[in-house]
Amino acid sequence: MRTGGEHMSNPEDCELKGGASEESEIVHNDTGITRREFIIAGTATVAATMLPTLAYGQTPQQPKLVQPQMAKVALKVNGTSHELELDTRTTLLDALREHLRLTGSKKGCDQGQCGACTVIVNGRRINSCLTLAAMHQGDSVTTIEGLGTPDNLHPMQQAFVKCDGYQCGYCTAGQICSAVAMLNEIKAGIPSHAMADITAQPKLTGAELRERMSGNICRCGAYSNIAEAITEIAGRTV
């Protein structure tokens, strides 16, 4: 209720609001508890019911680890080798962004649902948010920074610029990495849900492109231009 008041410009409205909140101190029931007290008591109840929850969350024999644990991992990123010592909890995405300062790959959902974090590992596109850096000992990672540079864009990057395949740009690095690897998947004959015959050789039709790129969400809805950019490159390579 209070937050509504913050947006009000009319002081009279604010006063009205103030009045209403004072009214909420009136005891509404015969327990003698005011609403404010009731809310505080309610929070305590929630906390109390959460306790068994926490107790159940861990089986009794499990040792409790509170200190961060470290692990060593050697990664090749965009052609450069790195030896990192990281908290074991570090995802590949966080290792790239926070430790190697390669901030082109974006964190959208951190749950595998949006594709903004898509990078290419050993030639295959993956969601870097749902994999630990420590699981990539010896792997070769290509991020958007490794595909091209501002003076020497990758053809897919050029096509996105030419076709205006973005608005805010947040999903773009993921879209481009995904698209580059996706075209290679078609070349390698990897089937998709868009194929009527699963044993056939895939071709890049509009329906195939949309199906194969469905792991990359664009909140700005730049899809038609993204599809145009990919189709332009596909025309040359697939």
Partner: protein, 317 residues
């Protein structure tokens, strides 16, 4: 995420033994389900055993004429395998109907079988959920239950198993091969692998502590027209509301398994006798005794229509 120690296992026996040494341990394969749940602290392992270097990433012919799929074979590789596409088409179709291209490049055969439910209450740690926290109640019963199970449910849990791949494995009569910490191995028929919730919905499968899946085997191909039909809220990258995996032979006989309706891939072999009599007859047997909620009762009709369309397609070819 809670802190955990990390090790890379080098053999199956090694991994299973490591799991026994660390009571709070979990295996990590693709990580696409486990890490998601660890971030939310729904899973809180204190030790992770990375099983990606076990060499269990091959697909081989078995002496019986079937196929042995290593536990670490990625969903993309399995869907693309020539033998799978030709002889077990329903499996390829189910795989490519699941998740996204990026996720399928990480997701493994074993991890896919063991993925946990997508019940929204299971994911929301502010909500009661017997599967996440035994004894706290079930938020979905009497709550938002549109996606939930209609059959095999219990008073404790009405969650569904979300895998597409597992439904195809069920219709193909797959077998799950494992190794235990003491080095012994066993073979579990897929029909017995996933559990119904009963009063222990926090236990999804019959696997024991530290038991590692090494492979999934498929029996000799049985031919027939193989179709996986997934019905969902959007055309791609969404979990199934219902799905049908069917193998239909020329004479109209065949097999059917369902996804999105139960705590496990749902198949009743006896119902398959009705195949020549059409979808309505099959579903009447297959979903006999169903206990849908008001919100998900539509799934029964949806299964019937999906199966009718699958049978029509099979006939047409």
């Amino acid at each position: 995420m809670k802190p955990f120690t990390f090790e890379r296992a080098t053999s199956g026996a090694d991994a299973a033994a490591a799991a026994e040494r660390h009571p709070g341990a979990k295996f990590v394969a693709g990580g696409t389900n486990l890490l998601d749940l660890m971030k939310l602290e729904i899973e809180t392992p204190t030790h992770l055993i990375d099983v990606n270097s076990l060499g269990l990433d091959k697909i081989e012919k078995t002496p019986e004429g079937g196929l042995r799929i290593g536990a670490l074979v990625r969903n993309t590789e399995l869907a693309a395998d020539e033998n799978v596409r030709r002889d077990y088409g329903v499996l390829s179709q189910a795989l490519v109907a699941g998740a996204s291209g990026q996720l399928r490049n990480m997701a493994t055969t074993a991890g896919n079988l063991l993925q946990r439910t997508r019940c929204p209450y299971f994911y929301d740690t502010n909500q009661p959920c017997n599967k996440r926290n035994p004894g706290t109640g079930c938020g979905a019963i009497g709550g938002y239950s549109r996606q939930h199970a209609v059959i095999g449910v219990s008073d404790a849990c009405i969650a569904t198993h979300p895998s597409d791949m597992a439904v195809a494995m069920r219709v193909l009569d797959a077998t799950v091969e494992t190794i235990r910490p003491d080095g012994s191995q066993r073979k579990i028929p897929i029909a017995e692998f996933h559990r119904l919730p009963g009063d222990k919905p926090h236990i999804d499968t019959v696997l024991m502590a530290g038991e590692l899946i090494t492979a999934v085997t498929l029996p000799k191909p049985i031919g027939g027209r193989q179709i996986y039909r997934k019905v969902r809220d959007r055309a791609s990258f969404a979990f199934a509301l219902v799905s049908v995996a069917a193998i239909v032979q020329r004479d109209g006989s065949g097999r059917v398994a369902l996804g999105g309706v139960a705590h496990k891939p749902w198949r009743i072999e006896a119902a398959e006798a009705e195949m020549p009599n059409g979808a309505k007859a099959v579903v009447a047997r297959l979903l006999a005794g169903a206990k849908p909620t008001n919100e998900n009762a539509f799934k029964i009709k949806l299964v019937e229509r999906a199966l009718a369309s699958v049978l029509a397609e099979a006939k047409g070819a």
